[in-house]
Symmetry: C2
Subunit: 471 residues, 2 copies
Amino acid sequence: MLDIFYYPNGVAVLGATAKPRGGFFLFRNTIEGYKGKVYPINPGYDEILGVTCYPDIASIPENFDLLLYFIPAKHLPETIHECAKKGVKGIIIESAGFSEVGAEGKALQDESVRIARDYGIRLWGPNCMGLLDGHSRHVFSFMYQDDWKELMKPGGVSLIVQSGMLSAGFLMAVLERGGMGLSKVASIGNKCDVDETELLEYYVQDSNTTVIAAYLESIKDGRRFLEIARNTSKPIIVLKAGRSAQGAKAAMSHTASLSGSSEIYKGAFRQAGIVQVYDIHELMDIARGFSKTPRCTPNGGTAILTFSGGAGIVTTDLLNDFNLTLAELSPKTLAEIKEVFPEWMDPSHPVDLWPAAEKNGVAKVYTHSIEAVMKDPSVDSVIVETLASPRTGLDYLKTIAGLKHKYEKPVALWMLGIGGKGVQDEARKIAEDNGLPEFTEISRCVSFIRGVRAHFAKKKALGLISHHLHP
Amino acid sequence: MLDIFYYPNGVAVLGATAKPRGGFFLFRNTIEGYKGKVYPINPGYDEILGVTCYPDIASIPENFDLLLYFIPAKHLPETIHECAKKGVKGIIIESAGFSEVGAEGKALQDESVRIARDYGIRLWGPNCMGLLDGHSRHVFSFMYQDDWKELMKPGGVSLIVQSGMLSAGFLMAVLERGGMGLSKVASIGNKCDVDETELLEYYVQDSNTTVIAAYLESIKDGRRFLEIARNTSKPIIVLKAGRSAQGAKAAMSHTASLSGSSEIYKGAFRQAGIVQVYDIHELMDIARGFSKTPRCTPNGGTAILTFSGGAGIVTTDLLNDFNLTLAELSPKTLAEIKEVFPEWMDPSHPVDLWPAAEKNGVAKVYTHSIEAVMKDPSVDSVIVETLASPRTGLDYLKTIAGLKHKYEKPVALWMLGIGGKGVQDEARKIAEDNGLPEFTEISRCVSFIRGVRAHFAKKKALGLISHHLHP
């Protein structure tokens, strides 16, 4: 149903311009990735970037599916009438000036919805940044950054974002960090017609999408949203803003959203197997982690392997704070790890690998010890803490990634980069490219493991995952 | 008292070597910054890096204050006897193999303490990374990284770290991030003699130290530690590891530390005005923030200025989670902000500045609005959220820093870097160099503001701060 937005047959850009502002970026982004017909509309130009420009919708010689709306709000009703004559099926309204600015804007928005509904035209937005698709590379958004072209990689993460700047600014920040492939991104703004629930359903059915992450200020049809979430095996991570009374008030003025009670959401999310998060980078961190974690059988505890006894203790405390269990490593596992340890030291858990690494090298000690804990049936997940340093080499991170895939046990990686500015970025890239999610904070590693275990336990209990571990 | 460790008159390095391992780095670091006499000791060399090498302690022609010990543990008792003949006042034992490896090591350590005490020689460590001083540039540590020379800036933050790898690896990671000047760093390991309480007292009296941060697995003399903390106006931030039963067990095997009950620590820390933190980057983030925040009069609420309505709502929710108050901006303040807003939009709180910034430019809108909230007596702290982008320029961050200093109200900065890989680093550097602490997570901005308000409120209640705001 939402295919007409993501894969339209012909796109017109109302408000395209050659001046370096929103209407230009919207048009340029559109022609960059979309290979069908594109019609810029602006009476002031004959062409923009070499593409024939039309003075109005009526002048476009063919019918087309999608209109991108980027002119002042007040023209929307008449535009919908014009669109109807051209067989338009959907309009993405990226302009602001609707329900978020008060009663008058609200009336304008409501009127537009009525008119569109009569014609069977779907509306997206208003007050939003549009959409993009990492696989088709369709980008129908006015975000001005140009480097999405190099940075955007196709992948499994699809996003629903009910906030303009967050969707664009944040998306660019996420792309620049790297490590996460994208399927579909939707900035839904005031969501006068297309909303989070319809998108959730669409993403659940989308074969490119493996993980769904959403920033939401309100959920219109909570019952349906939760039902869809409950019935899919895909992980869904939600940052629900407006949890506090004052936050809800701010959400009201931001996208005219009525937030529900925080406690009700919390319980309902858990029931539906939704992973709830509370901060902005956290949303992306957890989504990125899930995108690299297709399997988990939560039937044991978490192993901690570290370069620092201190970091291991902090991690153990945080496991406890998050109601997770430190795995009970078997004597066999400890004996196997002992093989790479110095004579004077016996491994305990959390496993401080540094004295061993000094003797036998980081690569050998880490990969040997990680394989030992992966084989231990009491371990269902692993937190690996290491130094990113040119001295130790970085290739062993690939071996760790391989072990993670072989044993199908989630890994969260925490690193301190030392020995030069670029080394942490380089190590992170090697890790992420090979399927190891890396997190800046130890607490994020722990909350990721908690989210993964909760998701797979819930989906297994609901009979949505039949996966069995093959050791 | 601890001056003999930080400012010794003559230093010998037992276990110095020309091979690229610990004993070499320890020696090289020592001669790099320390301008007094240095005596490498190793029977295998006549000189190391051009400095005359001695076969043993007895051969050193003069008396000296400090010995850096970096040979196997078992030689420590005889070494102390040798040291006594040379007038040595302190020994920093950086080797491992003492109480942390079991009963035998514990006996060796205890015996060494007894012998040293008889001679009046102070012991530091063992099982530690030694110390450094950002002002004198004395670095008596075997950390192998060479780039501390460029990265280490003098400043107000002093650290106590009860963990070897954390102190070295972590310190390097902190130095590479930048933004924090250092006074004294102490890695105390098994703390057989010099301990966290004595160091705390020393730092409290140290005129270069304005902020004290500690990673501790145990506190030997809790009563005295808390008394010192309570009676200083300097902020003290503590990451107490081993809070959980399993974490405490791990701490026992790591530095042979007996941890106390988590709940007792929590209450006692609060009573003493200690800011408690729970993660490793958090310890440094909060210390860095305090080092740029000499003043705060917690008599109002927190203002939020943002480029994204969504981020503002998330921040408001997190304020609520952390028991902070969103400031009630006065009509006068809102009217003043309105001056830079577009006609169709009235500012509300949190203040979403983006529509205004699009109209009047980021620099003007941010600085004007921040000054307006700073002048509002209901505001005692400000969270500023902005884009780090070459398009908006970055110099306005300096103006924001100036406003912060002028009005003496703490600021926490959160940025999304877009428009190229280096821009976030560049913006961060400008902000930090001018006294604006920047944090990667919104939740960290909020926990920083909470820590600052709690610290200043407590110290004012205890009569340790007489500061009044001069508007």
